[in-house]
């Protein structure tokens, strides 16, 4: 089953490699990983999407907690949460299909943030499956480049992951 593990970790050099190294050393799956500093610049927030049986996910969270730099973590899959992923997508355009591509982007609430005579760059955020659906809706041959951030997530309600 897919899990989203959200981690508060000391913002130190090498912290990322400790987490990434743990996954490779123990043979855990890692679908995506995003990391950036938080409002407290001594801390980074990391979001890892992984999958595995309940036993494996339990081990993953225990092993992550065991890392000295990890301050706190939660498994978002265990409670109501929202998740979003950012995608930037560059497509080749012609005079004939520009309007069509823009309409599809509008339906998916994407924004065109760069235009040249032959290309669009479309920005889109949403749950990962929505981004997948958008890609599917486009003509494959038109896509020049896709960049995705990997999902990040946050729990709903009063609770939060903080010190």
């Amino acid at each position: 089953m897919r899990h989203i593990i959200s981690i508060l970790i000391e913002n130190e050099s090498g912290a990322l490699s400790r987490v990434a190294g743990l996954f490779s050393a123990r043979g855990y799956n890692i679908e995506s990983l995003t990391v950036a500093p938080t409002e407290d610049e001594s801390l980074s927030r990391m979001t890892i999407v992984t999958c595995g049986s309940e036993e494996i996910i339990e081990q993953i969270t225990k092993q992550l907690n065991k890392l000295i730099d990890v301050v706190k973590l939660i498994d978002l899959a265990g409670a109501p949460h929202v998740e979003r992923e950012l995608m930037l997508l560059k497509v080749r355009t012609t005079d004939q299909d520009r309007g069509e591509i823009k309409r599809i982007a509008d339906i998916f609430r994407g924004r065109i943030i760069d235009v040249t005579s032959t290309t669009y760059v479309i920005e889109m955020t949403g749950p990962s499956d929505k981004l997948d659906a958008f890609i599917d809706a486009l003509d494959k041959d038109k896509i020049i480049e896709v960049v995705r951030s990997g999902p990040t997530g946050i729990s709903r309600g009063e609770k939060g992951l903080h010190l």
Binding site: S17, G21, E55, Q59, K62, I68, V70, V71
Partner: protein, 578 residues
């Protein structure tokens, strides 16, 4: 007080109470060695290879409970230390390793003797630090010792670039008395409710078994374990790492469990209905085939490391906490409880265990004209009256030592259990002897293992650490040969050496006493003579039966009840070589 970086490192060690530092100099640590030269409190032990430094420090920690400290230079010094760091990591031994690094401005430029020590050591340390600022050294040192010693202990590496120890840069120094880390708060007390549930289950057991590991020794909880076990009257087995946590000569002790554990311990585990695992981690050498592990048992597991719980074997009542306070609470609850262990059930259970014991799984051919390795260990036990510190290397001799030397006290059995590091024994013996100069220290080894760190014989002479080396020389890598005999139709692929040095001459060349023993009747007198030479390191090259195997054995992939026992008429190898 203003000190330079090198002095701060040394002074921090002194303020931390460090007595010995094991190391080897080199370019990146020259400032540090200059600071060591200019003081008397911290004693430096110069080894002959960095691996030896880590094993000696590791064994010092195992024997004393105090952290072992190592100093190595950058590049090859650091990589040579890795085997020893990994050894300590697998057995949760507190160790602080200071490695030199090339100066900060050239890090990443493939400078001379540069290696990414933080990266290389990361998978085999509890934590590591790169010091980036001279003002941060003292705090980093304190953190390193704090992390190494608390929770589930382990090795910590501090990588110190050369410019950080520059003697020209002086800063105010104060060693912090305490350090707190918001991201690191290891559990201490176990959950009260869980402990209560555990005691209830334990007292209701019909066929209980206590299975304890190295965590009891690391957690200084041998007294509590012993008290509780005697209070309950239950049988107890120890893992390889846990030997000595409960007195081996106590009738409640059923021996070691696992791959080369006793018949009674493994059968007891297999038939048990309640298992109390204390400071043990259900290692594959202990469990055998997981699907067949303790099929009838409900399991209680006490461990300071939550990640050890339900890692390989699902447990019913987990208790996360230090073993000592948890056992103390359990003892109190057991004493206060109205429920007492069922006398009738326990009597029947002991009767069953005695039946298994009557198999005498550790018996061997005592009439052989050849020296049996088991006999040597039995004699070693008698000559040292069971009081020696015994270090070992890895292989058959290690198992014989574990099976036939009865450890009654914790911290006396010093071996590389998790990583299985050949070459551990001799430097380990030196580390132990430095900690306890008046104690008998024996290194049980084999002719293959000893050659992996034999250069430390020179260290033993320099620092006058008279250890006794018991070399069980069967002219084979015995354990490899044994597996090849059992699983590869006796195709002994590269498990012997065509050339073996004359160990007597070698010992003498290093300035020690060498002895060659090839008759069973000479074993006892040789051991007595060797241990009587209080101020000499003695190398006993004992020529043993080359066909002897370690029994019982659970071959990999089999369950506890599926043990290979000694064949009365000898093994195929006996016949082949007869």
């Amino acid at each position: 007080m203003e000190l330079n970086g090198a002095q701060i490192v040394v002074q921090s060690l002194i303020d931390e109470g460090v007595e010995y530092i094991f190391g080897y100099p080199g370019g990146a640590v020259l400032h540090l060695y200059d600071a060591i030269f200019q003081q008397q409190e911290l004693k430096h032990i110069l080894v002959r290879h960095e691996q030896g430094a880590t094993h000696a420090a590791d064994a010092y920690a195992r024997a004393t409970g105090k952290p072992g400290v190592v100093l190595v230079t950058s590049g090859p010094g650091a990589t040579n230390a890795i085997t020893g760091i990994a050894t300590a990591y697998m057995d949760s031994i507190p160790m602080v390793v200071i490695s030199g690094q090339v100066p900060s401005p050239v890090i990443g430029s493939d400078a001379f003797q540069e290696v990414d020590m933080i990266g290389i050591s990361r998978p085999c340390v509890k934590h590591n630090f790169l010091v980036k600022d001279v003002t941060k050294i003292a705090e980093t040192m304190k953190k390193a010792f704090h992390v190494a010693m608390t929770g589930r202990p382990g090795p910590v590496v501090i990588d110190v670039p050369k410019d950080i120890t520059d003697p020209r840069i002086k800063v105010p120094y104060k060693y912090p008395r305490k350090v707190t880390m918001r991201s690191y708060n290891p559990a201490v007390m176990g959950h009260k409710g869980q402990i209560k549930k555990a005691v209830e289950l334990l007292l209701s057991a019909q066929r209980p078994m206590i299975y304890s590991g190295g965590g009891v020794i690391l957690g200084e909880a041998s007294d509590e374990l012993t008290e509780m076990t005697r209070l309950l009257g239950y049988p107890i087995t120890n893992t390889l790492m846990g030997l000595g946590a409960f007195p081996a000569t106590d009738p409640q002790f059923v021996g070691m469990l696992g791959m080369h554990g006793t018949y009674e311990a493994n059968m007891g585990m297999h038939e048990s209905d309640v298992i109390l695992a204390v400071g043990a981690r259900f290692d594959d050498r202990v469990t055998g085939k997981l699907a067949e592990f303790c099929p009838h048992a409900r399991i209680i597991h006490i461990d300071v490391d939550p990640a050890s719980i339900s890692k390989t074997v699902r447990v019913d009542i987990p208790i996360v906490g230090q073993v000592k306070p948890v056992l103390e609470q359990m003892i109190e609850l057991i004493k206060d409880s109205k429920t007492k262990p069922s006398k009738k059930a326990l009597e029947a259970w002991w009767e069953q265990i005695d039946k298994w014991r009557s198999v005498k799984c550790l018996e061997y051919d005592r009439n052989s004209p050849l020296i049996k390795p088991q006999y040597v260990i039995e004699q070693l036990y008698e000559v040292t009256k069971g009081n020696a510190y015994v270090t070992s290397d890895v292989g058959q001799h290690q198992m014989y030592a574990a099976q036939y030397y009865h450890f009654d006290k914790p911290r006396r059995w010093i071996n590389s259990g998790g990583l299985g590091t050949m070459g551990f024994g001799l430097p380990a013996a030196i580390g132990v002897k430095l900690a306890f100069p008046d104690a008998d220290v024996a290194c049980v080894t084999g002719e293959a293992s000893i050659q992996m760190c034999i250069q430390e014989l020179s260290t033993a002479l320099q620092y006058k650490t008279p250890v006794k080396i018991v070399n069980l020389n069967n002219r084979y890598m015995g354990m490899v040969r044994q597996w090849q005999e059992f699983s590869y139709e006796s195709r002994y692929s590269h498990s012997y050496m065509d050339t073996i040095p004359d160990f007597v001459k070698l010992a003498e060349a290093y300035g020690h006493v060498g002895m060659y023993i090839d008759k069973p009747e000479d074993v006892r007198p040789a051991l007595e003579e060797a241990f009587a030479m209080k101020d000499r390191t003695v190398f006993m090259d004992i020529i043993t039966d080359r066909t002897e195997n370690v029994y019982p054995m659970i071959e990999s992939g089999k369950g506890h009840h599926d043990m290979k026992l000694r064949v009365a008429l000898g093994t195929p190898t006996d016949r082949e070589l007869a």
